[in-house]
Amino acid sequence: MKQQISTINKSTFPAKALAVVASLLIAVGVMAFAINDKPDASKTDTSYVVKKDSVASVKAFKQVYTVLMSARCMNCHPSGDIPLQGDDNHLHTMAPKRGIDGKGVYAMKCANCHQPTNTPGLHMPPGNPNWHLPPANMKMVFQGRTPRQLAQQLVDPKRNGNKGMKKLIEHADDGLVLAGWNPGDGRTLPPMSHAAFKKAWITWLTTGAYAPSAKAK
């Protein structure tokens, strides 16, 4: 597992892939990126171009969705204020609360148990220097969201932490997102590699970030 992560960290593959996608898109000269209202970061997003393709977009999002709804992602995006645990998404033992900043409350702050790195051993607290839930004013709930709801939420700056295209793409390499692929001993991984996820994520975003139909599951 460790080996895999260090590979991802060091790998130039995602960057290369992005460059390839971007250059291809530019080469065919398609319209510029525009998701909903212009996010404040949109000025810096001009390097990303979108070729709208609802079929490809929805197809990519289906992959993205399986990852986001996997335990490794969803457990920290709960519908309530208590994180989830385990592949069955049960409420976190000892019921730690989100707190205003997402880092817990009082004697129950995430970092009291979750160390900067994974603690070795089965059932030991996984670690990250920045372990937290989304903050109280931006809960970014995954749990219970349909594909359509989640897709719409992910690109809505009011609900995604004011992220535009660039920040959304960058978020795929966020330390906590990556932690999903380094979950600590005995935990199942998301259903695809981080590279595959990132590819699907970028594809979804750069093909218009279409939301699947309401019937999609």
Partner: protein
């Protein structure tokens, strides 16, 4: 605070046995159960090694020996509270030390069966009173005044006509040479100044600033640390092991095979001895051990209950008690209520995992640890180590919980073996996982209960239980007689009022280490028998409390029911909530509980309140009693709704609190405790609050939902 910092032996030596101090104790007349009171000076003359319970030095400092373990149940407060009452000293002027394990001196020391107070309070009162009389007599002699004009108060003897006084320290030299009078009249309950009062616990301060020394806190100069990888199947052996990697861990000194006695069998493992706990644990992790798991059955939980259920269908078992003829009455009855209840195996899981310090030298083996039964440890370990009993000294530290587990002798024996092999004092630590997976456990038991309601009257109650007999296990063989705990928990007056009643044990043996667990068989019997009575009341269309009132004709039971009815507001209970009740007997104490539950907006059931009424007869400290009942309810809650030790292929499937989750603060229901006032003999306190909780809770859930729960544990989240 190390309660055993001065060993009892040293303190006698330091203070000087004869003359300069008053040292009062008892000695056992050989082979007799009667204890005689004696002073140290007289003991020396008579050549008797006595057990010093009370010691007063020339400064008036009083030291009392607590012969029982302090594992949370409050002996450290209750024992001095009793002695101080008759001795007429202020509690703050008393020091308490733990007695070392010694059956000859202290008699039965096992902290089990809720027996600390009920087993010794009369002696303790007598010891206090005798010491006081000796001191008052000494003062009268010194002054040359009539004894009747002298009285004791707050560690002094006063001369009433003149007001002159001596403090106790000034009197001990004379008092120690007097012969203790026998048969001193004791105070009545109305005269008590300390007993019966909710005085603060004297062990609290040391338990709030880190000073209290538990077993794991005991340190000795040059002490090494050990962790043991034991065969996860109790009867399994070590086939071979590879210590190469373990020995590479910095700090690891030695790796070797050990075996420890667990009653009649031996458990095997590989010990890693190191310079720190961490190094020992790392070394244990790095061990490669091959086990020999042949020659014994690898049991599965599903099979245990399958066998128990099957046996109960046809097997009448070994009869323990019978009134009337239940079988004949059942064969004639138009309708028989015939139900089966099932209860799970339980782990003790005290917060302080099992651990022990031993220091072996050829001429002396000293043991320190969280030990519930020091005299058993002395006896067992001396035999196993082939040492004279007097060369094995067993010291009790504070116990971070015991609940029955720490009355086993396996872990002190293992520590002794490791110390001997390591050639140094050694502390053996059991990881939480070791503590949880190695047992022993409360046995899981299945019950079949049959009854008949005849014209609204319960004419038959026939009970059979199928589950491991702890005695068979510890003796290594079946006695061929019914488990005498088969009717434990069931109130005795029922035998006078139910026309046909019987209890039988359907023998079930399993290779699982079984041990007492808080309230022992009453904890499971109580659930089955009291749930059954609630079902019978329902069948008879009677209110559960009225139903019990009709059969529990005993005056104390009637009073308890009245009290329970009153404090819980039973008669005016609201219809939206569910109310349940149960009354059980355990160690001569009767406890009734009413549990109130309601359904929350999220659909889940919540326990709103628990009312408990305890009749434990003569009692010492009502606040300690309330605390014990609060704790019993919480432990009962875990046992009823969460906890089950399961076995797969002979391996325990639970490891730590992540898969054997403890109730937490938000799970604690409000508990209101009431104590009956009466002058009857003292009953137990630490355990009897547990058995009625589960049946009262499931009765309340039935009241709310119409659903009978007959199998524990059940999930509160999905009821």
């Amino acid at each position: 605070m190390e309660a055993n910092a001065i060993s009892r032996r040293n303190f006698l030596k330091i203070s000087g046995l004869a003359g300069s101090a008053l040292c009062l104790g008892t000695y056992f007349v050989a082979e007799a159960k009667n204890e005689n009171l004696i002073t140290a000076a007289n003991a020396e003359k008579a050549g008797i090694e006595m057990n010093a319970w009370i010691h007063i030095d020339t400064n008036g400092k009083v030291t009392i020996v607590d012969h029982r373990a302090e594992m949370g149940q409050g002996s450290y407060q209750s024992v001095p509270q009793i002695v101080a009452e008759e001795l007429e000293v202020d509690l703050k002027d008393i020091d308490v030390i733990f007695g070392e394990g010694n059956q000859e001196k202290f008699g039965n020391q096992i902290t089990g069966g809720s027996s600390t107070i009920r087993g010794s309070y009369k002696n303790l009162l007598k010891l206090g009173a005798t010491s006081r009389v000796l001191l008052v007599t000494a003062a009268a002699n010194k002054w040359g005044v009539p004894l009747i004009d002298c009285y004791a108060k707050s560690g002094h003897v006063f001369h009433r006509p003149t007001g002159k006084k001596f403090h106790y320290g000034e009197l001990v030299e004379v008092a120690s040479k007097l012969t203790p009078p026998q048969d001193i009249p004791l105070k009545t309950r109305a005269e008590y100044k300390l007993i019966g009062k909710p005085l603060n616990r004297r062990d609290s301060p040391a338990k709030t600033n880190g000073e209290a020394i538990f077993g794991l806190d005991k340190k000795l100069p040059g002490m090494l640390y050990a962790a043991v990888e034991r065969n996860p199947r109790m009867r399994g052996k070590v086939k071979s092991f590879d210590a190469t990697e373990a020995l590479k861990v910095p700090g690891v000194k030695k790796v070797f095979k050990v075996k420890m006695g667990v009653f009649t069998i031996y458990r095997e493992g590989v010990a890693v001895v190191a310079t720190s706990t961490w190094a020992a644990l790392q070394g244990k992790k790095a061990l490669k051990v091959t086990w020999d798991d042949t020659g014994f059955e690898h049991i599965n939980t599903a099979d245990i209950y399958k066998i128990q259920h099957e046996k109960l269908k046809t097997d009448e078992g070994l009869l323990l008690q019978k009134v009337g003829n239940p079988d004949a009455a059942i064969s004639k009855a138009a309708k028989v209520i015939d139900v089966v209840y099932q209860t799970p195996y339980q782990s003790h899981s005290a917060m302080e995992p099992v651990n022990c310090v031993a220091w072996y030298r050829p001429e002396k083996l000293e043991i320190w640890g969280p030990i519930q039964a020091p005299e058993w440890v002395q006896d067992f370990v001396s035999k196993q180590m082939k040492m004279p009993k007097k060369n094995v000294i067993v010291n009790m530290t504070f116990l971070g919980g015991g609940f029955g587990r720490k009355a086993f002798m396996d872990y002190p024996h293992e520590a002794a073996v490791i110390s001997k092999e390591a050639g140094a004092p050694v502390q053996v630590i059991w990881k939480r996982e070791d503590d949880l997976t190695q047992g022993p456990y409360r046995p899981g038991i299945t019950y079949r209960c049959q009854g008949v309601i005849d014209n609204g009257e319960m004419s038959v109650a026939k009970f059979r239980m199928a589950g491991q007999n702890i005695d068979h296990w510890s003796n290594g063989k079946s006695s061929g007689k019914a488990n005498d705990s088969t009717s434990e928990g069931f109130l005795k007056p029922y035998f006078d009022s139910i026309k046909n009643v019987s209890f039988a044990e359907v023998v079930f043996e399993a290779p699982i280490p079984a041990m007492w667990w808080r309230s022992v068989y009453a904890s499971t019997n109580g659930f089955a028998y009291e749930s059954f009575l609630n079902e019978m009341a329902h069948e008879a269309n009677k209110d559960q409390l009225d139903f019990r009132r009709a059969y529990l004709k005993d005056e104390r039971c009637q009073q308890l029911i009245d009290k329970l009815e009153k404090v819980s507001g039973w008669k005016s209970r609201d219809k939206k909530s569910g109310y349940g009740v149960a009354i059980t007997e355990c160690f001569n104490t009767t406890v009734g509980q009413v549990v109130k539950v309601s359904r929350q907006q999220n659909g889940k059931i919540k326990i709103d309140k628990v009312w408990a009424v305890m009749d434990c007869g003569w009692y010492v400290n009502p606040d300690i009693i309330a605390a014990q009942v609060e704790g019993s309810v919480l432990m009962g809650l875990g046992a009823a709704t969460t906890h089950e030790i399961t076995f797969k292929d002979g391996l325990v499937q639970q490891n730590n609190f992540y898969d054997y989750p403890m109730p937490r603060i938000a799970d604690m229901p409000p508990v209101e405790v009431h104590i009956m006032e009466n002058t009857a003999d003292a009953g137990g306190v630490g355990e009897p609050g547990l058995p009625p909780f589960a049946p009262a809770l499931t009765d309340a859930i039935f009241d709310l939902t119409g659903k009978r729960i007959r199998k524990l544990p059940f999930d509160m989240q999905t009821v």
